[in-house]
């Protein structure tokens, strides 16, 4: 019998718990396979090795960790695992960091980066999303935690009315948007929290459907000043990430956003 516990890495074989991988390979290959299959990839395996030894991620002792990592890889290969190439890439990365740390740093450069820095950054980033993926599993979900009440109404069709936009509205410039938004804000009691990344997706989606979109169209006056700022930040962020281009045919003419062309 092989049982696994999803929270901890705990494998029971015939009732006895296997927590460590012995140096010799006398444990049943099936049990080892269960342990190894639990890893989501090389970063996950590294995080496990680090956690097991209670080491701080930002100060990984690269030599022992590399040694252990390679041991795991060898075990996987001995079990004829179809080893994802990603694991081998990581082994090479670790070996490279190890060798760079062994070479004495002759040039006294203040800017000299810790050879581990990039790996640590990736581990922290992965850890962050791994934690989030566990948190989102707790968020109430339809038909597990929440249940919608809905009768059956045949031939029920929603009428869709598109909002009409006047040309004159389009030609306002950004400061005009802000000015209006400010006037609006005094009537706006509820403030909704707006996400820049959500807004980026929304604008990209709009551009994607129409190829180009006027700058003014991106703004929703009813959102007030905060909404305008979030939209503006989203546009700047997309330009920075090379997702869109901002174009204007001549001075003071309309500004358009379009997908980036090379």
């Amino acid at each position: 019998m092989i049982q696994t516990n999803s929270d901890q890495l705990e494998v029971k074989v015939n009732g006895s718990i296997i927590t460590d991988i012995p140096d010799d390979l006398f444990i049943p290959p099936d049990a080892l396979r269960v342990i190894l299959e639990k890893f989501e990839g090389p970063l996950d395996l590294l995080l496990y090795l680090i956690k097991k030894q209670n080491i701080d991620i930002v100060d990984i002792p690269i030599l022992p960790i590399t040694k252990q990592y390679v041991e795991y890889i060898n075990m996987m290969q001995q079990l004829e695992f179809e080893l994802a190439s990603d694991y081998l890439v990581m082994a090479a990365t670790l070996a490279e960091i190890k060798s760079r740390m062994l070479v004495p740093n002759e040039i006294e450069d203040e800017e000299e980066e810790d050879p581990r820095a990039n790996l640590i950054k990736r581990l922290l980033e992965y850890q962050k999303y791994k934690d989030l993926s566990m948190k989102i599993d707790e968020v109430p979900r339809l038909n597990r935690d929440t249940f919608v009440i809905s009768g059956i109404l045949t031939n029920f069709k929603k009428k869709e009315t598109m909002p009409t936009i006047k040309m004159s509205q389009l030609q306002e410039a950004f400061h005009e948007v802000l000015r209006r938004a400010e006037i609006n804000a005094s009537h706006n009691i509820q403030t909704e929290v707006l996400s820049v990344r959500e807004r980026m997706s929304k604008i990209l989606d709009a551009i994607n459907q129409k190829e180009t979109i006027s700058f003014i169209d991106c703004f929703d006056f009813s959102e007030g000043k905060m909404g305008a700022i979030v939209t503006f930040l989203a546009i700047l962020e997309m330009v920075k990430e090379n997702l869109i281009d901002i174009i204007q045919n001549k001075d003071f003419s309309m500004i358009y956003l379009q997908t980036r062309t090379t």
């Binding site: 990736r122 962050k128 993926s133 599993d137 968020v139 109430p140 597990r144 009440i149 809905s150 996400s195």
Partner: protein, 175 residues
């Protein structure tokens, strides 16, 4: 007074019968004449919730509008109604989903870089099929990879109004 009573019952019936959440606009469009204002509708929804105080359900707001759902705390019993056990998503699925949700718009390459392994194409296909994720554009780098973002349907599923309601990430100070 009579017309107000009607308004409340009409809105209640619409929320009961609809399959999808109804926006304030959807509700206003139910009326050909005397369209109620958005504030009126909001007030009616508040009133409905007060009258539901002794009941097991309530009106809640999600990304695309309002819907009636069972109040919290009945899952213990209601889960028995579902013939098949509720889906458990794999770690890979959840990790891919949160990266898209928190870091959108992202390419598959971005996801691979964070997770350190190749993206399972079936996971992306499922996410798109669920309409939780959609392609919002292409990045102008070689290969023109697709940019992925979450949809309002994703927010509806998790009973959220906007992405800002996602659990906040723990602050990790990087060096």
């Amino acid at each position: 007074m009579k017309s107000e009573k009607n308004l409340e019952l009409i809105i209640e019936s619409a929320l009961m019968a609809a399959h999808e959440p109804l926006s304030l606009q959807d509700i206003a469009n139910l009326f050909d004449t005397n369209k109620p204002s958005k504030n009126q509708i909001k007030k009616v929804i508040d009133d409905l919730n007060q009258s539901f105080a002794k009941h097991s359900f309530e009106v809640i707001q999600v990304a695309t509008g309002y819907r009636i759902q069972v109040k919290k705390g009945y899952d213990e019993w209601l889960s028995k109604l579902n013939k098949q056990a509720s889906t458990r998503y794999s770690k890979a699925f959840l990790e891919t989903l949160v990266i898209i949700a928190y870091k959108q718009p992202v390419t598959r390459g971005d996801i691979e870089e964070i997770r350190g392994v190749a993206v399972n194409p079936q996971i992306i296909r499922n996410l798109i099929e669920f309409e939780w994720v959609k392609v919002v554009g292409h990045k102008e780098t070689p290969g023109k990879p697709e940019l992925l973002a979450t949809t309002k349907k994703f927010l509806n599923y998790f009973s959220m109004k906007s992405l800002s309601e996602l659990p906040p990430p723990e602050e990790i100070e990087s060096i």
